[in-house]
């Protein structure tokens, strides 16, 4: 049976991991390769690297990072963050990234999803969607690192992205991100019901039970989190044991 996936997300800047990661037994927590290998040993099913570098050197440092990670890591990983050109996607995949995630560029020009899916196959194209709920408009999609409203409904955009060839959706609730109060079950469930591609839920994870809920109630295929893993608030082995004892299929 296909398992639910647990995915730590690492923010990287200029080739280094950011967000003051505390990790026992790791001499250099800023080294993405060492951190990735540590997560793989603990049983992470996949990793996501989100590049927040803003300089012109971005492309070269990201490609070099992908190569270093791919050399070490024997589980799949996705790379995202400001990727907008077909050439960038090609360089990342050729250097060992398994999947590439696009966000703002797809909103700006949705046909980019079709082009990337045709060229590289749907299986490696993830569309990341940042959504926020407001009382007036419901769940809306935001762009430019969540700073700008697009006027698009979250469920409708997810459906369009999947129809255009996205092989997976990474749905982040900005309303829940950082709260540690649990995932956005309602919108995640609505997206899962609207598409037939896998959905990664992101934003709001704080405790073990939050993962149980997002898998059981919302039907997510994977749960992504960052700081709770980085700070050791939730350990991946204990999380997987918890899911297993609740009857949720996981790779132990």
């Amino acid at each position: 049976m296909l398992t639910k996936r647990i995915i730590p997300c690492l923010d990287v800047k200029d080739g280094r991991t950011v967000k003051g990661i505390r990790f026992e037994g790791l001499r250099d927590a800023g080294d993405p390769v060492a951190l990735a290998a540590q997560y793989a040993r603990q049983g992470a099913d996949e990793l996501v690297f989100l590049d927040i570098t803003a300089t012109n050197q971005k492309r070269q440092t990201l490609v070099a990072l992908v190569r270093d990670v791919a050399r070490e890591l024997d589980i799949p990983f996705t790379v995202g963050g400001g990727i907008s050109a077909v050439a960038d996607v090609e360089a990342l995949l050729l250097n060992g990234a398994d999947k590439v995630s696009i966000n703002s560029a797809a909103l700006q020009r949705p046909a980019l999803i079709d082009e990337l899916a045709r060229r590289f196959g749907s299986q490696c194209i993830v569309v990341a969607v940042d959504a926020r709920s407001t009382p007036e408009a419901g769940w809306q999609v935001y762009t430019r690192a969540g700073t700008q409203a697009t006027g698009r409904g979250a469920v409708q955009w997810c459906r369009e992205a999947a129809d255009r060839g996205a092989g997976e959706l990474l749905l982040t609730s900005m309303s829940h991100d950082g709260t540690k109060d649990g995932f956005a079950l309602e919108v995640t469930g609505a997206v899962c019901a609207a598409v037939t591609v896998p959905v990664i839920a992101s934003g709001g994870a704080g405790r073990l039970e939050h993962f149980t809920s997002v898998f059981e109630q919302a039907g997510a295929d994977a749960g992504l989190a960052a700081s709770i893993f980085h700070f050791g608030e939730v350990g991946i082995p204990e999380l997987k044991q918890h899911l297993h004892s609740n009857g949720i299929p996981v790779r132990l």
Binding site: T3, D74, G121, Q123, C124
Partner: protein, 195 residues
Amino acid sequence: MEIAVIDYKGGNVQSVLFALERLGVQATLTAEPDAIRRADKVIFPGEGEAASAMRELRAQGLDQLLPTLTQPFLGVCLGMQLLGRHSEEGDTELLGILPFDVQRFQPDAQHKVPHMGWNTLRNLRSPLFRGLREDDYVYFVHSYYAPVGAYTIAEGAHPGPFSAAVQHQNFYAVQFHAEKSGPVGTRILQNFLDL
């Protein structure tokens, strides 16, 4: 030992090369018929779309060469599907080394397409899986599959059974990404190198 990894712009070959590097073997990425024929082992990776992959193989004459190889050969992911007769993906004629027709998964509420993530292997019957247990997990990413047949040496399920691995004579192939399947995948690659 000379390992040839076939270069036909099939995508994600780098991960296969790195996995072999972690096993301490140096592989050559090549489309040269002589280098491929001469190699002790041949690995045929692949990711992407069947029709364009077959076009590329034909352009390089590899569609003629590959069926004639006699050394241990390992197809991976799309590199497994291409060994069949025909694929629904782009209505594509394949290499015809194994007698299967590749079909598309039909999604339902519980079973999404692509079949993406970690799933179990069952009914293991090959030296390729020495040291593995039934229900060990490997990593899959695919929307098309080969049905189960006499050539099947491991099964997966999504939800119906499909060929997770196949074999005909020296031609072995796995649908999952052995190079991305943690210690289990590493063991399978090592077993192939030991054949």
